[in-house]
Symmetry: D2
Subunit: 333 residues, 4 copies
């Protein structure tokens, strides 16, 4: 049984059905009826006027957002362990034409105003130093921690005070919404977020993420940038259709809730072994090499994360029956 | 009936079936069984060792190829009406970090060694002028003309003599193979091509193109560049599966043959009205504004291309019965 | 006697004297008294509030200006034979992060609103095509023609109407001011120019050009970009001092007047041989290979420009006595 | 008396004299006799065949070097407090098209193989992470420490083993040569360095630094990049002449020796107050706010560096008599 990554999971049935339903002649690029309805559908969800672009990857969503918020000579404050810093092969630098990521600290890859100030405050205000233009946080974080609306808002206030753009990498935004119980609006623009990478792929999608601009005018240049980056698919309706299918009937929340719940089963089993509280669908576990080998011997696959630490990720499609054997095995360690 | 673009057509059934078949847990990114078999499958097709990367758009394929063949301070010779120059919003400049497109002339967007020499030959060999690093041709061209293998080889010889990289934009490569009767190998690497953007989307695919490197070592940096550009999809198996499904049983040739044949029906009906010989699935037609309006009045949709000229594109899924009414209407003009 | 280029000439005595005078301890970068007085000195000259940055080359001035006026996904309309297109090795593409130069036509490298419209007017207003963001003209042009204020203003009006930035490459701005008799203000911002590369090096300077922003706020980002491009010299006072020395007592006009006058001597001698009217310090002459060889045999050096055409450039330091022998030799051909 | 920066000092008389001597007609750009002799003159100094480019700033030298050694998708290991990281406004990212600086630790801004390994060793070898392509060290460091030849060689061995390029920022290379007593060759290419930013400006130059490639072929692309970056001055002879004037008669060593010696006077006076050993011309001193104010009251100017810490820099032109009063004042604190 694999607990490597939610990227390894299949797409959910609603997504496949939507692809079939969209498999008809329509206008190319984003002129089709599905793409054309994204703005209004997401404006409704977020209770404000937004503009949204589909893209095939979270990296594209993140980096188009960052390029919209940061000039080439600026900097983006993010956590030292942020996905944009560690796992995108320099894509932010490519899209922003060389902006600098400014690395802040915090347990569980979570930022606070103080952590950001510790980075920003020591930058001299002169042309010799890269000046900060934006902040990027990940919600849920790379370690599965969830920012509550007030935590986001505290950072949003700092961003506003300092005139910085504010981006949220929401590769696991659905898990964060479910855990926090907050509305999508409260977790984003009402807390000062300017642009959200709204992830679907890790949550049962196939190949579509939404880049949501809460300042709609930011989308103007971003639409050109998306094209210029090769991310305007000629049959874009198949991306829009995936997103719409997951919004319909709150499939996105259903999938995330499922994953959060099974992760909670593992957390419960893990007890003192937990490295971080489990708030989304990732479980970081203290386990010796022998214990990890033992679990693998039982047929469970996962990544070693650090010495004495392993990472388990559950996906939308792994139900309680599928996860219980692992929970039992952890408890029995 | 729509004759706007082959991008507007649906995906063929084999592609949808392949998505369903691939909808199971596997390794993320390109570690899955489908992605892993691309190199060998395409090496077989091209009768030589190649390395291939899937990407979601032709623009991504083109521009990753160009970046592999041209340094930022170099230039790429292409036709004045090439897709990379006119329809990709500066994506080549983005991916190559500012290389310059050097525009050559030729009827039907087709290049010849002489046309290329006319551009390259007037460049002073000093650091003040951008030096050419690569040539890019489109086969079939933006006007539906097909390069025969010996035409490609003549350009390939020039490229070799001048030490230039050689890229082929094969958004409609299948149509070119069908029309020329040449083998994929003869039309590409045996004629000196270093990298091919092998198009599937216009030919019945959904969201996958293949970037094929005939100099396999070029893929080393390109794999990083793909990631860095946000084109390494986390569930890449759904792209690889599309390509494999279209290679299996020569679906790609079947689809292209169908489109070429119905385009030929239109060409036959058009007679003297043709602006260019019809060799692929595009038909450029002289038609007055009144004639165009008349055709539209009959229910046919298409683009005006230039004053007194319209463009008709047929797709893999438009069979003889579907196209005949338009052919008849053109004949009756 | 050399008539290759005004870049080959020495610096004028006032410039050398200024270097000596500035050779004392002061604040680094542009914090010194010379650099700090540039804005006011140039504001006075241009009769409006400007902000000015010194840079060591015209290419740096041009490209910082273009980057301030054009986003990476935009285009810059310039003449097919503009220096920025042909002689800067792609520097505009480097500084703008890949903006596209859009080439317009016109005799003597001179643009008109019609010529610009011919380029801009055929661009589709969609994300697939690079949209124009700016216009760049060279005054005097690469062929030594001078735009009159009303000619600049006509282009300025078009720029304003279309929302385009407007840059003037003034590598030989002094020659243009002298020839036109117009005030620096009339030739630039009153005619709609946003940024001027104000050249000194070809006109007797050593290593300093001024980038003048008539929209002062454009300098904000440009100051960072200058640093980022490595053009903020740590001992910047030596650049500022050169510029100030050439503005003092109108040395810049004296030098340009001298060069224009001796060029006029050559023009007078050339008569029917002139390819273009001589309005600045460049003379393009019809001359057979034999005639060119004959002149070289007499000790005159110059560039062949095109078959049957040579280019002669006179510099600030070549007085009537120095140029008369060439004039006589041309007359005697 | 100012101890702010060696950038604030004037140019030495030999440099000014060289400018006057070079003030004659010659070939533009780098075709003149001074520029043409740089390669051989520096090859002689370094006892091996080198190619050298003059540039007006250390930032330009550093970043052209880094771009020659690191592809856009790669990384450059440098110290957290390196000038390229902290004081060049992202110029390395601009010139390399977005390469990532990878920050290593070490007292006094000095790197060791272990410190580099600590950064490089934790990078996964996959396309998701930026891979290291180059190492950059500063000699003397930003805190005035000098790498001995064997210390450079240890890093050079690591670079070779891992296939990394190796750059030395030698803004104060002269001070390092003087302090170490090593030959320029032993301190660079014999220790594995591929490219050196050979600084002259801080050491009594006016506006010229040399970029020295010990792998001559690296200069091929770099010459285009220099032009493209606007750093090929049209009257380049004035830069080459400065460099040659400082190499002649070992003016560069004389100047550096003078500065090192007066810095040593300060170090001697400072005793226990020193933050780092003084090996070049920078002195970092523990001093309370009151003590700093006291020194300033006596007429000495300098930067506060950190709480309780000030930086004093002496220049080539400050002799023992000029520095003694400060030494006495420090001793008397």
């Amino acid at each position: 049984m694999r607990f490597f990554s939610d990227n390894a999971a299949p797409a959910c049935p609603e997504v496949l059905a939507a692809l079939s339903a969209a498999n008809q002649l329509d206008t190319a690029y984003d002129g089709d009826r599905w793409s054309q309805s994204l703005d209004s559908r997401l404006s409704e969800l977020f209770e404000t006027e937004v503009r949204a672009l589909w893209v095939p990857t979270g990296t594209a969503a993140n980096c188009l957002a960052l390029a919209a918020l940061c000039q080439p000579h600026g900097g983006i404050v993010c956590h030292r362990e942020a996905h944009i810093q560690n796992d995108e092969c320099g894509a932010p630098e490519f899209y922003t034409h060389g902006a600098k990521l400014m690395l802040a600290e915090g347990p569980g890859a979570k930022l606070t105003p103080d952590a950001i100030e510790a980075v920003v405050g020591r930058i001299r205000d002169d042309v010799h130093q890269v000046q900060p233009h934006a902040i990027s946080i990940t919600n849920a974080t790379e370690y599965g921690l969830v920012y509550a609306p007030q935590e986001v808002a505290a950072i949003g206030a700092l961003a506003k005070e300092r005139g910085l753009g504010f981006h949220m990498d929401g590769a696991r935004f659905a898990n964060a919404v479910v855990h926090s119980g907050a509305s999508p609006a409260d977790l984003t623009w009402r807390a000062g977020v300017d642009a959200l990478s709204f992830g679907f792929v890790k949550n049962g999608g196939m190949s579509a993420e939404a880049l949501v601009f809460f300042k709609p005018e930011l989308a103007d240049a971003s639409e050109y940038h998306r094209k210029r980056a090769g991310h305007l698919l000629s049959k874009g309706r198949y991306l829009a259709a995936q997103i719409l299918a997951m919004l319909d009937g709150d499939v996105w929340l259903r999938n995330a809730r499922a994953a959060n719940e099974t992760a909670a089963m593992l957390a419960d089993a893990a007890g003192e072994r937990l490295v971080y509280p489990v708030e989304a669908n990732e479980v970081f576990l203290k386990a010796s090499a022998e214990e990890a080998a033992h679990l693998r011997g039982l047929g469970f696959d996962f990544y070693d994360w650090a010495p004495g630490e392993v990472r388990l990720v559950v996906s939308w499609d792994q139900d309680a029956d599928a996860v219980r054997p692992l929970a039992d095995a952890i408890r029995a360690l």
